[in-house]
Structure formats: C-alpha cells, structure tokens
C-alpha cells in the first residue's frame, strides 16, 4: 500500500466514523424505549399516533401539490425561454437562484408582512389563503432545483424541431407542452420533483411561522416533549431522504441507458 493510499483510507475511515455514528446513534436510541431490550416500540407508538398520521399525510399532500405547481410554473417558462426568449435567460436564472441567496425565514417574514389580515390580499386570514401561501413559499424554495433540472433536460432535446413537427401536425401550445415536451424531459422533472419532496416533507420554518400544523412543527413538538419518539421520527425522515435521492439516481441512470441506446 502506498503512502497516498494510506492517507486516503485514513480520511475515508474518519469521515465514515463521523457520518455513520449519528445514524447509528439515532437508530440505537429509537430502539431503546423498552428497558433492557431492543424493540420497535417507539416506531409503533409514533406510527399509531393520529397526530403523526394527520401531519405526515398533510405534508405529503403539500409536497405533491408543490411539485405540481413547480412543474406548471417551470416547464412552460424554461421551454419558452429556450425557444423564443433566449435573452431572458440571465434574468430567469438570477430569479431562480434568489431563493438560495435570501434565507427562507426572510421570505416568510415578507409574506407575513405583505399578506396579513390588514393588507389588500389577506391570505393569512383564512385556512385556504394560508395554505396557498405555504404552497407558493415551498414552490419558491424548490425553484432553484426544479428550474435547473428541467433546463438541463431541455438542453438535451431538440425543442425547435419537436415544436415545428408538432405544429405542422396541428398541435396547439398546451398540447405541445403536455404531450411532446413534458414526456421528453420527464426524467429531469422527476429528479427535481424528488428533491422538492425531500425538502418539503420535513420543512419547519415556513410551516411554523404561518401556523400550519404539518410534519415539521410536529417533529419539533415531539422533540420538546418526548424522549425516544423523536429518534424514530428522524429515522423515518432519513429513510425518506434516502428514498428520494436513490430514486433520482435510479431514474438518471435509467435515462442515460435509454439515450445511449437510441
């Protein structure tokens, strides 16, 4: 073994310890609810908790709706910018990067000031309004990832030819976008969507400040009031993050395979 290899192994082993110990600790702690034996008691309690079922289901619904809003917003924009307004690209890229620059807590603070009950558009005053505001906020948070992945997807296909071909067959814009463009960038859309799912499912700051009882605030409440259940929740959240990232990898690999075959 060369010196270089030795150093590399050393770095990887230390990194492995740092990164795996919290996962082991989290798992170990979540199993220790019953004294003396390992058991899934904490998971059983958490999964049977109606509050968990309600808030988790709520967050899943929020995540799915965010993905729908994101697709409706990003796919037509990225498409028309590539096809008709290449000059707008820098402006759009700047806007889609802003959510990474402005801390989320500042954005939600702005929402509370602009859309409060004494404003022109009192969204925070009603249940529907608050949820619409929350969804829009999540769509903003997902914008950088969604736009980046859709735009990369559009780069790999010849949208000008596809559009002309569809038009010559008599398709309108909505039809072109839904039937021709979307299926072609589907894999890119999916990777943006899974990332969005992973971000939204446990999001805390937006939900807490808009007083929405979703999975993030539920987890924080559990953290303050219980001992073992939070670890079980953390394991659940970690598995979801893994699943989302794993699915992205799977789909990208699958798409590479299909383009290579073409």
């Amino acid at each position: 073994m060369t010196g270089k290899q030795l150093w590399s192994w050393l770095a990887v082993v230390f990194a492995g310890l740092y990164f795996l110990l919290p996962l082991v600790g989290m798992f170990d702690f979540s199993m220790r609810m019953q004294r003396g034996v390992y058991s899934f008691e904490a998971y059983r309690i958490v999964l049977a908790d109606p509050q968990f079922q309600q808030t988790f289901g709520y967050s899943v619904a929020l995540a799915l709706l965010t993905i729908v809003i994101g697709i409706l917003l990003v796919v037509p924009t990225a498409y028309f910018v590539r096809l008709r307004f290449p000059g707008l690209r820098p402006a759009i890229e700047f806007i889609t990067l802003l959510p990474l620059v402005i801390p989320p807590i500042v954005i939600v603070f702005g929402y509370i000031r602009i859309y409060n009950t004494s404003s022109v558009l009192p969204l925070t005053g009603s249940w529907w309004g608050t949820n619409i505001l929350l969804l829009c906020g999540y769509a903003v948070l997902s914008l950088p990832y969604m736009y980046r992945s859709v735009d990369t997807g559009l780069r790999t296909i010849d949208i000008a030819s596809l559009t002309e071909a569809a038009q010559s067959l008599g398709a309108g814009w909505a039809r072109i976008l839904a039937v021709v463009i979307l299926p072609n960038v589907f894999v890119s859309v999916l990777s943006g969507a899974f990332l969005t799912f992973a971000i939204v499912i446990g999001e805390y700051v937006f939900a807490a400040l808009l007083n929405v009882n979703s999975f993030g605030p539920y987890m924080v409440w559990m953290g303050g009031n219980r001992a073992y259940e939070p670890s079980a929740l953390a394991v659940v959240a970690f598995v979801i993050t893994w699943a989302c990232m794993g699915l992205i990898q799977l789909f990208t690999r699958f798409s590479k395979f299909s383009t290579a075959r073409r």
Binding site: T2, K4, W7, S8, W9, A11, V12, Y18, F19, L21, P22, V24, G25, M26, D28, F29, L73, P76, T77, V81, I92, L97, L98, P99, L100, V101, I102, P103, P104, I105, V106, I107, V108, F109, G110, Y111, R113, C136, G137, A139, V140, L195, I199, E203, Y204, V205, L209, M219, V220, G223, G224, P230, S231, L233, A234, A237, F238, M245, G246, Q249
Partner: protein, 294 residues
C-alpha cells in the same frame, strides 16, 4: 413577394403574444412570492412605523444583544464553512486522487447527496441521540473508556454542539462541489511539473492550489451562506437557548420577545446583505474557476 413580407409580421404577432403568456405566470409568481416580499423587508428596514425614511432601525442592530447574536452567527457560519471546506477537501481528494476502489467513491458521492439534504429537524434529533446527555456516543465513551463527556463541560446544546451538527451537511456539500474541480485537474499538469523536477508539495503549492483557489474560496462563501440561513436545525437542537441571528429573527416574528416589526426588518435586511455578499463572492469566483475546468 410583398404580400408575404407584409403578412409575416401579422402572423407572428399572435404567436409571440402566446409565448409571452407562457412566461408571464412565472414572472408574476416570482414578483408576488419572492421579489415583493423581499423588497417589503428591505424598504421596511429603512422606515419607521410612521412611514418616514430613517436609519434608526439599522442603528438598533448595534444594541449589545443583537450585535452578539450576529457575531455568534457569523462565527458559527465561518467556523463550519472553514472546517467543512477543509474536511470536505480531504475526503474529495481521497476519493479522486487516492487510488481508492471505484465503488467506494460512488458510494461516498451518493451518501454526500443524501447527507447534504439531511438538514433540519431530523438532523438535530440524530445528534441529540448521539451526543446528548444519554446519547449513543456519550454512553459509549462512559461505559467503555470511562470518559465523562458532560463532566468535561461538553454540551450538545452549545456553540460547539451546533458546529458539530452543521458540519454534517457542510462537509458533504463541499465534497459534492469540489470533487468535479479535483477531477478537472489534468494528469498532464502533474506530469509536466514532475518532469521539471517538482516535488509533490511543490506541485500542490505552485500548480494545483492556484488553479483550485477560486473554487475553494467560492465554496467557502457558499458554505458560509448555507450555515447562516439554517434555522430549523438550530431551533430543534437548542430550542431558543442559543441566540444566533436567525433564531432572534424567528422569535421576533413570533412576537415572543420584543414586538417591534421594524427591528425584525432590520435583522432580516442584515441577514440578506450577509448572505448576498457570500453568494456574490461564490458566483464571481465560480465563473473564474470554470475557465480552467473546460
């Protein structure tokens, strides 16, 4: 001929209109839910409750409690950015240049993708379960090695504990960003340096680091901004016992502490300024770095 020339613009007109309709929702959305809310904060930071222009709010940032909150935040973000860069660089160097088995490299990159997104509340829980008073590692050290972690003054609810937790998403982010840069170092450069008699250290000091410099500094700035905006991890880990800038703002918005929205504006404005500077540095240096990586 003339009829075609005349009819073309009129045929194109509605099409162009339709294309505008395709991008209009995006701009409207960005205006309503991103730009106006942010502008509202920025303008509010310079106004008093009567609506007059003032620097009074920004002046309040200099009060000892707010100033120390910002100071702790900056220290925390800077420390985790520097350590994240350092350790991330070592890991990335190990997997790109260290002749490790290929599957290990892919596994580490995939894991980095997961870990850099595993922030927020669950991450805080994982660290409490590991280094908390009854945590896995705390007990391990006590039962196996006789080391009393909490007796020696360590606490997960502290600056150090928060820094350790932040590194869990900072290091993987560095690995993800710097690995392509390291892979962009051409083998020929190293061979050229060696054929001219350079040692390994000389190669790094005179060739590799100058090329990587913009990437390294740029990522440092990005990691700084990344840590500075993180709120959920800190709240779930410390409650509100550690006053860092985002937690102070969170408490302000909730109305727990003082009820002065204009002070909230000023804190938010200062946060935007700091993260904008950090991100600006990142984008500028990234453009410089990309010159070498083609």
């Amino acid at each position: 001929m003339t009829t075609i020339a005349l009819s073309l613009p009129s045929a194109r007109q509605p099409r162009q209109m339709l294309s505008w309709l395709g991008v209009a929702p995006f701009f409207l959305f960005a205006l309503l839910f991103l730009i106006l809310p942010t502008l509202n904060i920025v303008v509010g930071a310079f106004r008093n409750p009567q609506g007059q222009v003032t620097l009074e709010n920004l002046g309040k940032l200099l009060s000892p409690s707010i100033r120390s909150a910002f100071w702790i935040s900056i220290e925390l973000s800077l420390l985790t950015a520097v350590l994240g860069c350092l350790f991330g660089f070592l890991i990335a160097a190990a997997i790109t240049l260290g002749d490790l088995p290929r599957p290990l490299r892919n596994a580490i990159l995939t894991f980095s993708g997961v870990a850099s997104n595993f922030a927020g509340v669950p991450l805080a829980f994982a660290f409490i379960a590991t280094l908390g008073r009854l945590g896995f590692v705390t007990m391990l050290l006590r039962n196996w090695f006789g080391i009393n972690l909490y007796g020696s003054g360590f606490n997960i609810v502290s600056f150090l504990g928060l820094a350790l937790t932040y590194l869990y998403f900072q290091i993987p982010l560095m690995v993800l960003i710097i690995t392509p840069a390291l892979e962009g170092l051409k083998r020929e450069w190293r061979e050229a340096a060696e054929s001219l008699g350079a040692s390994g250290a000389q190669y790094w000091r005179l060739v590799a680091l100058p090329v990587l410099w913009p990437s390294l500094l740029g990522t440092l700035a990005l990691l700084f901004a990344n840590a500075f905006g993180a709120v959920a991890t800190a709240i779930a880990l410390t409650g509100s016992s550690l006053s860092i800038a985002p937690i102070v703002l969170f408490a302000q918005i909730r109305g727990d502490v003082l009820n002065d929205p204009h002070l909230g504006y000023a804190i938010a404005f200062a946060m935007i300024v700091l993260t904008a500077i950090a991100n600006g540095i990142y984008i500028l240096l990234r453009m410089r770095a990309e010159r070498w990586l083609k």
